[in-house]
Each structure stands twice: as C-alpha cells, then as structure tokens.
C-alpha cells in the first residue's frame, strides 16, 4: 500500500498520519488542537446542536432564541473545526506523496518557514475574518434561520417556545391578502424609488460636473465648493433639516417659497405622492455631489489633445461631448454608478428620518413611502413580526445579490479583480 493512502487513513484521527511520517511535533500539534477543540467546545456543541434541532422543549428552562443562537455558533465552530481537519488530512496525504516519490521530506525548520510563507496572508487577515464572521455572517445566518420559525409577538421567549415551521411564512406572504398587497405595493415603490432617485442624482452630478468644467467658466473653485457641500454635511443632519423644511405646518417650503410664488400649501408629509416626490428631490440634492466629485476627477484627466483633434475634424461641441466626454466618464465611473443603485435600494435613513415611512396607509402595515428595508425595520422594531421580517430579508437579499452578480459578471471589473 502506498504511503499516501496509509497516512490518509491514519489521519482520520488527527495527528496519526503525521506520526506515521515521523513528524512528531506536527502530529502532536494536530492532536493537541483536536483534543482541546473537543474539551473547550464539548458543551457548546452538545447544547447547540440539541438546541438548534428542538428549539427547546421545556418552559421556563429553555429560551428558544438563545438556543438557536447557540446552535448557529456551534455550527460555525464545527465549520472552523472541519477546516483544520481538512488541513490535517491534506498535509498527511501530501507528505505521503512525497514519500512515495522518494523525495526527502522537509525538515522542521523548512516546514516552519513554509507555513510562515504560505500562511502569511491567512495570518494577517485572520482577525478581520473572525470579526466579519461575528459581526456580519452570524447575524445574517441568524436572520435566515428566524425566517423558518414562527417567532413573533405571540410566540416569543421567555413566555413561549418557538418552533420550526418550514416555508410557511414565505407562503403566507403570497397567500394572506393584506401581506401580499402590502408586499407588492412596497416592492413597486422600492423599484421606482431606486431607479428614479439614482438616475436623478447620477444625471445631475455628471451634468453639473460638465457645466463647471467648461473652460470659460470663472469662479470654478467657489462653485465646486458649494456644489460638494451636501456631501460634506452629515446626511442625517440634512435629512432632518429637510423634514423641518417640508413640514406641513411650519416648514419654509410651504410658508416662504410656495407662498411667495402664490401657490397653495402642499401636504408634503401627509399625501403619499407628494411625500414620494419630496423624497426623490431630496435624494437628488443629497446624492449628486458624490458623482459630481468623481466625474470632475475624470474630466480633468481627459487629455486635451483629444478635443483639439476633434475640433480640427470639425466636430461640434455636442458631438465632442457625446463621443469623447460621455464614454470617458461612463468607462471610469460605471462601478460607482452601480453602487448608487444598490445604495438607494437600501437607503433606510432618508425614508425613515424624513417621515418614518409615513403617511400611514389604511389596511397596510407599511406606510406610503416605506421601501422594503424600512418596512422590515418597522416589522421588527414596532410590530414584532420577526419571522415575517426575516423572510422578507431573505427575499430581498436574493434579489439584490442576483442582480449584483449579474451586473458584475458583465463588467470587466469583476473578472479582472477576482
């Protein structure tokens, strides 16, 4: 039998494959890691796995939600353990191959240097990965798990146990009338909002950058500084300022501007359509400076001789813009434009801080301007519909992720980067 197979088989107990290769220290290390893994996590694994399957059986002893969390942590720990286990198997197998080929094995010193060399990227990014696991991956997994339970106001610990219910929450979104109609209303507005607001801010930003960048314009620096102000002031401050400006009773938009123009007061906060209009305008105001800044950077980097050549060929100002300026801009900032769309799709702050997603709509749990993320927030924080909120989160993530993947696959950025 070949050395590689023997070693692989022996490695089923971590370390023994290495012992077989007479790599005592390495084998001992693997064995030690394994033993300490089980000693340290024995209880967590036992409790966690039992908990995630049953979600608790006895009140008041068991808290389903804590059990679920522990279960997920146990799964993550097992996953990390399996990685180490795989490394152990692979190491034994690889060394086995070397012995089969009658190569001399690495000395301890060489191995140490090899590990240091190969392991360096893992070593320096390890802490960041652990943090990511804890702060991002675990919460997302948890939300996903909640979607398959019946966790809500009436089924919540410590008074009640929570149970696994499979896909029934997803089914209810499409079968219960009030949920279905709310869902599609919110989804439709989310899509409109994302497209219109993002397009507005991108178009405005590019347009103003081109305007300011014209050769003849004086006071360039002054205009640029004014135009990037909305980007420099913290967003939450400006949104709250606008909430005051648009206020139906004391806001300056109604009292000062429209009154001066002789237009009757507009119910900005209480009429859904006017509220939506105001939101889109505000996002245009808030979002264009960023595009403006980046586009200005691109414009300044376009070589002047391109334009001179075009002028000699008799190109008009417009065709120069269309055939030189625009392609250059789009080429450089298209990844940034895509992020504007995903940003607005998830733009919770402007919706919630302006009007809390209001005005309220009869027969609906969502307000007139709620987008999916603000509706999810309300379902979680205000009406305690945890399972429903989590199910919506999953659906939203699937949509966003698939669009993003499709987009990035098209753009060369992805191919080059990965």
């Amino acid at each position: 039998m070949q050395h590689r197979k023997v070693a692989l088989l022996l490695s089923i107990i971590p370390g023994f494959g290495q012992f077989y290769h007479r790599q005592w220290l390495k084998g001992l290390l693997f064995l030690l890691i394994t033993v300490s893994f089980f000693v340290a996590f024995k209880d967590l694994l036992n409790m966690g796995l039992w908990g995630i399957v049953t979600l608790g059986t006895e009140l008041p002893r068991d808290n389903s939600i804590f059990l679920l969390a522990e279960g997920l942590i146990a799964l993550i720990v097992i996953f990390l353990g399996l990685i180490v286990y795989y490394l152990n198997l692979r190491d034994a197998y690889k060394t086995g191959i070397m012995r089969d080929n009658k190569q001399t094995l690495y000395t301890l010193r060489q191995q140490y240097q090899h590990v240091l060399f190969k392991g360096y990227p893992y070593l320096i990014s390890g802490p960041a990965f652990l943090l990511l696991l804890f702060a991002v991956v675990f919460p997302i997994l948890f939300s996903f798990a909640i979607a398959f339970t019946n966790y809500d106001l009436y089924n919540s610990p410590p008074a009640k146990l929570v149970e696994w219910v499979g896909f029934s929450t997803f089914k209810e979104i499409f079968t219960v009338d009030i949920w279905r109609s709310t869902f599609f209303d919110v989804l439709a507005w989310t899509v409109v909002w994302t497209i219109v607001a993002s397009t507005l801010q991108v178009a405005l930003g590019i347009f103003l950058a081109v305007v300011v960048n014209q050769k003849e314009i004086r006071f360039k620096k002054l205009f640029r500084t004014i135009l990037v102000l909305p980007w420099a002031v913290p967003g939450f401050v400006t949104i709250l300022i606008f909430a005051g400006l648009f206020n139906d009773s004391f806001g300056a938009v109604n009292n000062d501007i429209l009154a001066a123009l002789g237009i009757d007061a507009i119910p900005w906060l209480t009429d859904p359509n006017w509220a939506r209009f105001a939101l889109i305008m505000m996002q245009g105001w808030l979002g264009f400076p960023y595009i403006f800044l980046v586009t200005t950077g691109v414009l300044q980097s376009i070589p002047e001789d391109l334009y001179e050549a075009a002028t000699i060929d008799g190109a008009s100002a417009f065709s120069k813009f269309r055939h030189i300026t625009m392609p250059m801009i789009l080429l450089s900032i298209s990844p940034i434009i895509i992020t504007q769309f995903t940003f607005n799709f998830n733009n919770f702050n402007i919706i919630y801080l302006f009007n809390a997603g209001g005005p309220a709509v009869p027969d609906s749990t969502a307000g007139g301007t709620d987008i999916l993320v603000s509706w999810i927030y309300k379902l979680t924080m205000q009406s305690s519909q945890y399972a429903l909120a989590a199910a919506l989160t999953i659906m939203l993530s699937v949509v966003v992720v698939s669009i993003a993947l499709w987009q990035f696959r098209k753009s060369s950025t992805f191919k080059e980067g990965a």
């Binding site: 969390a69 997302i140 948890f142 135009l227 002031v233 993947l405």
Partner: protein, 280 residues
Amino acid sequence: MRNRSRLIRLTLSYGVLIVMSIMILYPLAWTIGASFNPGNSLISTSIIPKNPTLAHYKELFEGSASLPYGQWYINSVKISFFTMVGAIISVSFTGYAFSRFRFKGRKNTLTVFLLLQMIPQFSALIALFVLAQMLDMVNSHWLLILLYIGGLIPMNTYLMKGYMDSIPMELDESARIDGASFTRTFWQIIMPLSKPMLAVVAMNGFTVPLGDFVLSSVILRTTEAYTLPIGLFNLVNEVMGASYTTFAAGAILISIPIAIVFLLLQRNFVSGLTTGGTKG
C-alpha cells in the same frame, strides 16, 4: 454667430450654477438662521432673525438629563474614532493579503465579500439585538464599534485591494530581494504609497457611525448612551417642531467640523476612489 451661441451657452451655464447654489445654500442658511431664532417655534422663523440669540447653544451644554448633548458628542466622537482606527488596521491587512498573495480560497472570499456588502447589515437587526442581550452588552459602545468595523470590512477591502493593485509589484520584489520581510515590505513600501486610499477608508470609518441610525438605535437604549444621530432624531421627533431650533443649533455644531474635514480631504478622496474604482 459663433459668439452668440457661446454667449447663450455661458449664460445658461451660469444660470444653472447660480440656481443650484441657491438650492444648496438655502436649506443650510435656513438652519443657521433657525438656530439663532428665539423661542422654540419655527412659524415665525426667518433666515436673518430679528432678535438673534445664543440661547439654544447654551441649552445644549446645560447638561440637562433629557438633553445631554455634550455626552452624545463625546460618544459619537469616541465611536467614530475607534471605528476608524479599527477599520484602517483590519482593511489594510486584508487589502494587502488579497492584493499581493495568491492563496487558496482567495477568489471565493472576494466573491463572498462582494455579496456581503450588498446585504444590508441591519437586515440582521433581530440577531444583533439578541447578540447584545446574550453577551450582556446592551448599551455597549464597544459592541457597536466591533459591528461597524465588521460591516466596513468587505467594501473597503475591495477599495484597498484595488488601490494596492495599482502599486507596481516590482517594488515589493526588489524589497524582498534586499531581504525585507513581508511585514516590513508592507509597512515601509505598501502603506506609505496607499495613503490616498487610507484617507478614504479613514473617512468611511469615521462617517459610518455618524450616518448610522439603525444599529445604534437597536443597541443603545438609554439616553446617556446615545450617539448624535439618535439623540438629535429623538429631539426633533419627541414634540414635533417644538424643539426644532435647539436641534438646529446641535446640527450645526456637528456639521461644521465634519464639513471642514470633508472639504479638506476631498482631493484624496477623489484620487483614491477613481484609481481603486476603475482597477477594481
């Protein structure tokens, strides 16, 4: 003929710029005006108040239990500062790893990063709240800082990696030949050359906590522990309109320092983003 069309173009351009400038400056001027207006009500507010007063600014620092503005300010600065430091450290390491090493799992991890940055972190609200309770860290600023740093890693690693990719590999190689270790190459060659992108990451790190309303409102539950966004939001919402002038004063005190830093750093920001953005 040529001159006339040029004149029209320039007139229109200046017209557009002036209208936009007014639209940008008006809300800001209105807020500044409001902060100096006497009384709480805004009905009689004008941009240039007839009897300007500093009363609202004083009120912010009187340290009343329901309006600990100074405390909120300290909380916000502390959280932003540590998030910034944490983000810079972790992202420069991950960026270096992804840019310079071809290790197993690299491609997959990059794809996962891309996906993670699409899923809004706060869609996992319930989980974060449960996490805070389990760890007994409700109201803990440190938990919040860790969550912010974690959330910043995917997106900013991408930016940092993209920027480091534009630094020629030959520099690393010659340093290696001269006997420098990876860590030394990182500190003495890569880091100094990545300064523009480090500024971007620093700015993202500093401003994310200032722009966040959701995570902080889930984790911070007492008035004392609030950050500026939650504190000011509650101030506006508690009695709608009634304390708007005080809010205006508070808003100005936070906006001015940040706006100045942004305006000073914008050059870095643009060069960092266009390089990192196109090279991906």
